[in-house]
Amino acid sequence: MRLRGWMIALLALFGMARRRRPQRQPRERIVAAGQPDPRAELIAIGLLLLAAAAAVAFVVFYALGFSTQALGGTLAGALALIAAALILAAKRLVVSEQLPGEYPEPEPEQQEALAQIVEESGSRLTRKRLLGLAAGAAGGSLGAALVAPAASLGPLFDTSSLYTTPWRRGRRLIDEAGRPMLAADIETDVFYSAFPEGASKDALGAPLVLVRLDPAALRLPAGREDWAPGGILAFSKICTHAGCAIALYRTPTFAPTQPAPALVCPCHYSTFDPARGAAVTFGPAGRPLPQLPLMVDGAGALRAAGNYSGAVGPGWSGVRSEPPA
């Protein structure tokens, strides 16, 4: 009797317990289960440890002041080892399943709702176009006002400074080291740079190229008959195409196939004929190099006899017009 009672009680408890604890379903997986690959895991661990070693080596090399190559090598090595470990993980250690999915579809109802909200929000407005214009005027003007201080960046309307050069009649020519250039020292087939005495070398108008040609070979434009004493010609060194410094002088001893002598810019190979007042013979330049008239003073030094024949440096709209007085 007692035994039966106990058994019933136990069964009841058991049953209740079973009923109370819900049936434990095997949970549905989101990510598919994959096969372990202990060997790949071991290799990945090895790669990561090597990466750690390379990174430590980088710090040690850095502290010891080792070369750029040692630093770059160790850092790149550490990163490459990590990359290898990650790629191994991608290939062998993570579940990499191709899953189907759907492209997002446009939602016409939402689009309509959006349009409706905007449309219906204007029900109290009667002069929509005028309001829009006024708002546009306010916004545009305010924008312009906020941008206006940018005009302080540079001379906005006055472009006369583009014409300035440091050359004046009587200013002496000096070389890179600051010594006056003597007419007697200027040889043929040699390319000289010259600068204005007592002025900055940096202005675009400052640097000159100086070459000496046989005076009989000169075909300068009309009015420049006395600009080249003894065949010594001075031109602005700055290319009229894109502002680089003329750095090549092609003389007859150079390339026999191409006309010489010629002054050439190394940036885009605009080529100028010094004998004809640096007229353009090839390349993209649209204007000759401006010529500087020269004279020789009593001491034999070269001096400017005036200013350039035209505006110096790269062109802008209006560059050919007369510089402002």
Binding site: Y62, T68, Q69, A70, L71, G72, L75, A76, A78, A85, L86, I87, A90, L93, V94, S96, E97, Q98, L99, P100, G101, P104, P106, A150, A151, L153, G154, S161, L162, K201, D202, A203, L204, A206, K237, H241, A242, G243, C244, A245, I246, A247, Q258, C265, P266, C267, H268, Y269, V280, F282, P284, A285, G286, G313, P314, G315, W316, S317, G318, R320
Partner: protein, 457 residues
């Protein structure tokens, strides 16, 4: 199981209760990446940009953007006693006197070159597979904006240093600005503050643009680009029959794509630091400081500006003038109009193609290049046009290395840049059509064989 002590679920619950981010994160983790190697080109660009920002911040800690005069007194003997700007002095010191400085500077420079290269390759992939079509036109336009911003950003980067090559590049940039019809002179003076080489403040203007304005712009565009990619999902190649314009097949972000993508990031960083450490680039201490009267022969810009050099060099020498008044100086053609044409063609292409083909549909499935013969032929022709102009920019090198006559080369290029693209267009279109036809024949043969097998059974 002890509730509340789970190291995974506890932080997840913490974050979700406070942000409500769980649904979004689940979606992000299960975002599908269709599988193709060419889809990684954009990621390469992204990771190169990460390296650019990281190394750039390091450089900014040492670089002094000032044109104030100083004299070099550091350990590099050839420059000792040479007057130069603080900008150039600090860049040389950063390279030769700061531990790991040269590694960072060279890695930064290499990363810029690789970044633009990856963007261009990514663009080619997008173009030749038709990935720019509806509904991804905005993603494409933002990408183009990033590419052209990156070109300017790179140009400013090497211009900041104030070495000889910087100065020559800036002189050309100044000339190109001046060449804009009517406003060029005003614009050039506004940007430079004074006639070239400009006001000393110009260095500060370049600096803030290079380290803040343009990187921030690229960052914003990048965020918009990636947001739009995710919003419309990746395109896919039709490799399985289930891959349609409505259904895609791909690897989820987590776990599948994550180690791949991080592995690629580490590989890109390894490549860039390896190049930065082992392969010299732009050894600025050899160039010396810039003066307007100095130039060097054989100067070449970074590769991504080579097409502009070619454009400037190929133009015959003329300015557009009205009487004595210059209207359009020559650099306008190669320096402004040419890149503008390239940009406009790229920007307008999706709409031009839509107009010509009448195809206004949604395209989530990519074309193979042969599937669109006219697009492929036009793209290759256009690429040949830009590429030939790029190659023409190195004609002086061919003169130095192979003894070819420079002027003759330019005359050949002036014709070839028009003829060759036309030829490439015709040949490419023919090849695409032949490939299509071969596939048709192959399909017909397979169908016939299958029929024959059925009949013989």
């Amino acid at each position: 199981m002890i509730r509340g002590r789970d190291p995974l679920r506890e932080p997840v619950r913490f974050i979700d209760e406070r942000t409500g981010a769980a649904p979004l994160l689940v979606k992000a983790l299960r975002y599908l990446f269709p599988d193709h190697w060419s889809f990684l080109l954009g990621e390469v660009a992204l990771y190169a940009f990460v390296v650019l920002v990281a190394t750039g911040i390091y450089l900014a800690l040492f670089f002094e953007p000032s044109l104030a005069d100083t004299v070099y007194t550091g350990p590099y003997a050839p420059l000792q006693g040479v007057p130069m700007s603080e900008a150039y002095r600090s860049a040389v010191d950063l390279s030769l006197s700061v531990d790991a400085g040269l590694l960072m500077r060279q890695t930064h420079h290499w990363a810029a070159d690789v970044f633009v290269a990856a963007v261009v390759l990514h663009l080619l992939r997008i173009f030749f597979t038709g990935a720019y079509r509806r509904p991804r036109e905005l993603t494409y336009l933002i990408g183009l904006a990033m590419l052209f911003t990156a070109l300017l950003e790179g140009y400013l980067g090497y211009s900041l240093v104030d070495d000889l090559l910087s100065g020559m590049g800036l002189a050309i940039g100044y000339s190109v600005a001046l060449s804009l019809p009517l406003i060029g002179g005003n614009l050039g003076l506004l940007i430079w503050g004074a006639p070239f080489p400009g006001d000393p403040q110009f260095e500060s203007r370049m600096y803030i643009t290079h380290v803040l304005l343009l990187p921030a712009l690229i960052g914003v565009l990048l965020a918009a680009h990636l947001t739009l990619v995710a919003a419309r999902h990746h395109t896919q190649f039709p490799r399985e029959p289930e891959q349609t314009n409505r259904r895609l097949i791909g690897v989820p972000t987590f776990p599948g794509q994550t180690p791949r993508s991080l592995g690629l990031m580490a590989a890109v960083a390894a490549l860039l630091f390896g190049l930065g450490g082992l392969v010299q680039i732009n050894p600025i201490w050899l160039w010396g400081p810039y003066e307007t009267g100095l130039g060097t022969n054989g100067a070449q810009p970074d590769w991504y500006l080579g097409w502009l050099i070619g454009g400037l060099r190929l133009m015959p020498g003329f300015d557009v003038t009205i009487g004595d008044y210059t209207l359009i100086p020559n650099p306008f053609w190669g320096g402004v109009l040419f890149p503008l044409v390239v940009l406009v063609v790229l920007v307008a292409f999706p709409w031009i193609e839509r107009r010509l083909t009448g195809d206004r549909g949604v395209h989530n499935v990519l074309d193979r290049p042969r599937d669109a013969p006219r697009r492929t032929a036009f793209g290759l022709g256009f690429l040949t046009w830009v590429g030939m102009i790029f190659v023409a920019g190195s004609a002086d090198r061919a003169t130095v290395f192979f003894g070819l006559d420079y002027e003759a080369q330019i005359k050949v290029y002036r014709v070839a840049v028009w003829v060759l693209p036309a030829l490439v267009f015709l040949v490419a279109r023919r090849i695409c059509r032949e490939l299509q036809r071969a596939e048709e024949i192959e399909r017909a043969r397979e169908a016939a064989e299958a029929e024959a097998r059925l009949a013989s059974r």
